[in-house]
Symmetry: C2
Subunit: 338 residues, 2 copies
Amino acid sequence: MSTLRAIGEFEAIRRLIGARERGARVRVGPGDDAAILVPRAGRELAVTTDAFVEDRHWRAGWITPAALGARLAAANLSDLAAMAARPAWALLSYGLRPSHRIAALLALQRGAAGTLAASGAAIVGGNLTAVRGAEWVSLTLIGEVRRGRAWARAGARAGDALAVTGHPGRAGAAVRLARRRGMARVPAPLRRAWRAPRPRIAFAAALADARAVHAAIDLSDGLAGDLARLCAASGIGAELDAAACVRAAALGAAPATLRMDPLALALGASDDYELLLAIAPARLAAARAVAARQRVPLTVIGRVSGPREGLVVRAPDGRRRALASLAAGFDHFGGPAR
Amino acid sequence: MSTLRAIGEFEAIRRLIGARERGARVRVGPGDDAAILVPRAGRELAVTTDAFVEDRHWRAGWITPAALGARLAAANLSDLAAMAARPAWALLSYGLRPSHRIAALLALQRGAAGTLAASGAAIVGGNLTAVRGAEWVSLTLIGEVRRGRAWARAGARAGDALAVTGHPGRAGAAVRLARRRGMARVPAPLRRAWRAPRPRIAFAAALADARAVHAAIDLSDGLAGDLARLCAASGIGAELDAAACVRAAALGAAPATLRMDPLALALGASDDYELLLAIAPARLAAARAVAARQRVPLTVIGRVSGPREGLVVRAPDGRRRALASLAAGFDHFGGPAR
C-alpha cells in the first residue's frame, strides 16, 4: 500500500492530475502555475470555499475517502445552489499525513470529481502539503450565473413563504446518533443525509428561471441559525410552523432514541446542505411544480413577517415562542467536536 | 487577549468581514453563501491556490501574523505573475486553534489584504474552521488575463534566454540559516527574501505587453526543480551558466556560514516566489529595459537548448555537468520540515 511518503509530493501530484477529467472551457492546466479558464459572456462569477477537518467534520470509520470527497463537493455545490449559480471549476487543496495512502487520496479526488461532474464542474487545480496531526481538505468552487440574476440572503419580503428542500435536521441527528453507537448503526435515511447530501443545483436553476425566489441560504449550520442569518440580511422577521419543521425533517425514531425534542433536532445544529428559500406567494405553485418535476422534496415551513415581529415558532396549539429559546447554530470554536 | 474560543466562530467571521475593504467588481459578498463577481469582457480567468502549514511553511517566532499573511498572498500572486495575469479576487481559508487570538487573525488577514491590494486584488470570501494541532492558512486567487495571452510552462524554444527575477536561492538559504540560529540572526537581505517576497505582477504584465516571453514558471520549489518542470512542459533542454546562477542568488556569506557550495544553494530547495522566464533572444533587450524601468533585478542565467541536450550546468572552466547531480527540489513528504 503505497503512501505519500513513499512516492513523494511530485509523483502524488502527477497521479492526481493524471486521474482527472479535463474540464470544459479550460485553456491551460491543471499542472501549470495557475489554470486558465474561459468564462461565458454575459455571466457573473459565483465563488465559494469550504474545508473539512478530520475529527471535526468527519471521523475515521464514519465515511469512505470517496464519500468524503463527494460530501465536500456537495457542501460547496450547495453554496452555489443558494446563489442560483451553475458550477464550472474547482480547486482541491489537501493537508495530509505522509502515511496517507495514495489510493485513498485518489479515491477522495474521484469522489469529489464525480459529484462535481454531475453538476457540470471539473477540478482544474489544487495544492498538496504534508501535515502532522489532523488532516484537512479544502475546496474552492467557481460557478457562473446570468448577470444580475444571483440570489442572495437579502431580498426576502414580508408575506413570502419560507420553504426548505430535503429534510433539514437529519444530518445533525445522524451525527448525534453516530457519536453514541457508530455511523454504521444510524438509520439509513439519516446516514445518507449526512454522508451524501444532494446538491440542489438543477432545482435552483429551474426556480431562478421561474423567478420564484426572493432570497436563499444554504443550510449548513442548522435551520434556526441559518434562518436568523437570512432574516438579518433581509431585514425581516419570520414565523415558523413547528409541525411543518418537524414534518420536513422526517426524523423517524431518532428523537426518541436520542431523547430529544423533535423540534430542537429539526432546528438545531445540522449540516444538511439543503436550501432555505423565501418564495413569492404568487410563485409558490410554480415552485412546487418545479419541485415535483425534479422530485425534490419541498416543504413550506413558515412565512416571512415584518422586521419588528422577530423570529418566532408557532406551536400546533397556536402559541408562539422566540426561536432563540429553542435552538442555536453550531459553532466550530465553542461547540462540541463532530 | 480575546481568542476564537472566547468570541466564537460567527463573531470572528463578522470581524474578519468587517475589517475588509470591498473589492472592485464585487456584486454580492463577502458574507453571503458565495461571492458574486463581475469579470471583464474579453478576459480569461487565471486561478491558483496555495496553503501554508505551521511548522512546515513557518515556525512561531520566524514571522509575524501580518507578514505570514503577506507571504501567503505573495506566493499566490507569484503563480498569477507566472501566467502574466492580473489578480482580482481572493478567498482566504483558515484552520486555527480555539486559543488563536482574534487580534492575530485580523493581523494575518490585514497582511494578506495589503499585499493583495498592492496588486489590485481584494479578499471576497473564505472559511474559518477549528483545528487541534498544526494551524494552516489556504488562499485561492482569481485573476484575469487577455484572451489567449496567458503564459504557460510550455512554449520555450531552443535559443531562448533563461532569466530569473530577484535572487533565487536566498529564501532557501534563509531557512537553512534560521534552523541553526533563529530567523532574527539571518542577514537582512536573505531574511527579507524569505519573509517578504515581491510579487512580479506589474513586471509580468509589462513583459507580456512587450511580447517578450515564450514560457514562464514561478520559482517556489527551487531553481533546478522548477527549471526541470518548465523544460519537461516545453519539451526542451537547457544549459545553465553556473557563475550567473550564483551571481543572481547573491547569497553573501551564507554559503561559507552554511559550509555549502554556493551553486547548490542557488539551485536547490528554496521558495523565492520569483519568476523563471524563457525570453525570445530578439526581445531580450526590450525585457531588460522593462526590468530597468521597474527596478526588477533580471539576470540571464542560461539558454534553452534542444530536447536531446538535457539539463546541464556549465562551470566557469567550460565543463558541463548534469543538473540532476547538483540539486533537487523540495519535497514536502520526503524532505525535511522547514
